[in-house]
Symmetry: C2
Subunit: 200 residues, 2 copies
């Protein structure tokens, strides 16, 4: 469909279309929207992209996104360095911080093991995790990868790698989401909830 | 939710969140995505935004988006200047061009009359349309605003304004979409289809 566009407009639509979740129709809509906004507003958007890209780096300890290195969480002495929560993406750190329930540290894998997509353990920050676990005072690694096939495979891989080092490796509880209705729960989740039942 | 972000990241998420159809969650996802892409790729996006914004202007005749002025359609002598198709947005021109069924010219209103949003006729390119109709050889104006309340009001407003100038004012046919199933047609569309029935 972009054959009806040429030059800078085609180019803009093409670049927007590369973003995740932005299909050709949305890219077209966004492009027309931007062309009709005041110039200052469009510059603010472009500048915010470039500035964030320039100033935000990966923390050299936990690989979370940060403006300072090491990041605020890694350098926070109030936090417990004995427990490291391993997540797939930087945005998962934000999700955990929002719960206010975790006071340990993090490690961002920057992906998940996925043979279909050609992502093996060597493409993730797993070497760095092992080095960290060996060098620091870590006692427990909470594997908080997503609860799907790739997340499970990654969790098992990490468990096999870290347990021999004397580290306790745990995984997030699987079960019914808070507020959910049994009638609408899928059978796998319900099975996991039963399996993981706890005494009251 | 953006209170968990600060500095350039909060700023980037905020700017992305202003785009149409991009809510806080999508803005966050896009921001993290951009921060994890190679720098060249991110610069290509920012540059394409700025370049398109700089080079693309409104045609001073039809108010479509264009790199040259007047635009390629306005300056195309193969096209019939007697029929002008009036649309709300520049992207509607693309939709018509894709049909390959219209060989007249266009006029982009850059919006639609919408009292709820405080958009009166004076905020649209209606003055410019009237001037154009008076000055050029226009015989027919096809009002191709959207088939909703605002589009209908705008169409009626234009008809009242242009008919006294001796211009034929037409509107797109309303009826059933091609390939549609009567069973699933809504009653208003079905009513319009019946009303506008044509002899075979």
């Amino acid at each position: 469909m972009s054959s009806y566009y040429t030059g800078p407009l085609a180019n803009l639509i093409g670049e927007l279309n590369k973003l995740p979740g932005i299909g050709p129709k949305s890219a077209q809509r966004l492009a027309f929207y931007l062309l009709q906004r005041p110039s200052e507003e469009v510059h603010r958007l472009a500048d915010s992209i470039l500035e964030a890209k320039e100033r935000i780096r990966f923390c050299s300890t936990c690989y979370n996104l940060t403006e300072q290195n090491p990041c605020a969480i890694c350098s926070d002495e109030q936090r417990n360095p004995e427990v490291v929560c391993v997540v797939e993406q930087a945005r998962d750190v934000v999700a955990f911080e929002r719960t206010r329930g975790f006071r340990g540290k993090y490690h961002v894998l920057q992906g998940v093991i996925s043979p279909i997509d050609g992502i093996g353990p060597e493409k993730l920050r797993i070497k760095e995790l092992v080095k960290r676990v060996e060098g620091e005072v870590v006692k427990e690694v909470v594997v908080a990868t997503n609860l799907n096939a790739e997340g499970d495979v990654t969790a098992m891989y990490l468990a096999r790698l870290l347990k021999p080092l004397g580290i306790k490796v745990t995984r997030l509880a699987q079960g019914l989401p808070v507020g959910s209705d049994l009638e609408y729960a899928d059978e796998v989740t319900l099975g996991k909830a039963l399996e993981g039942r706890r005494e009251l």
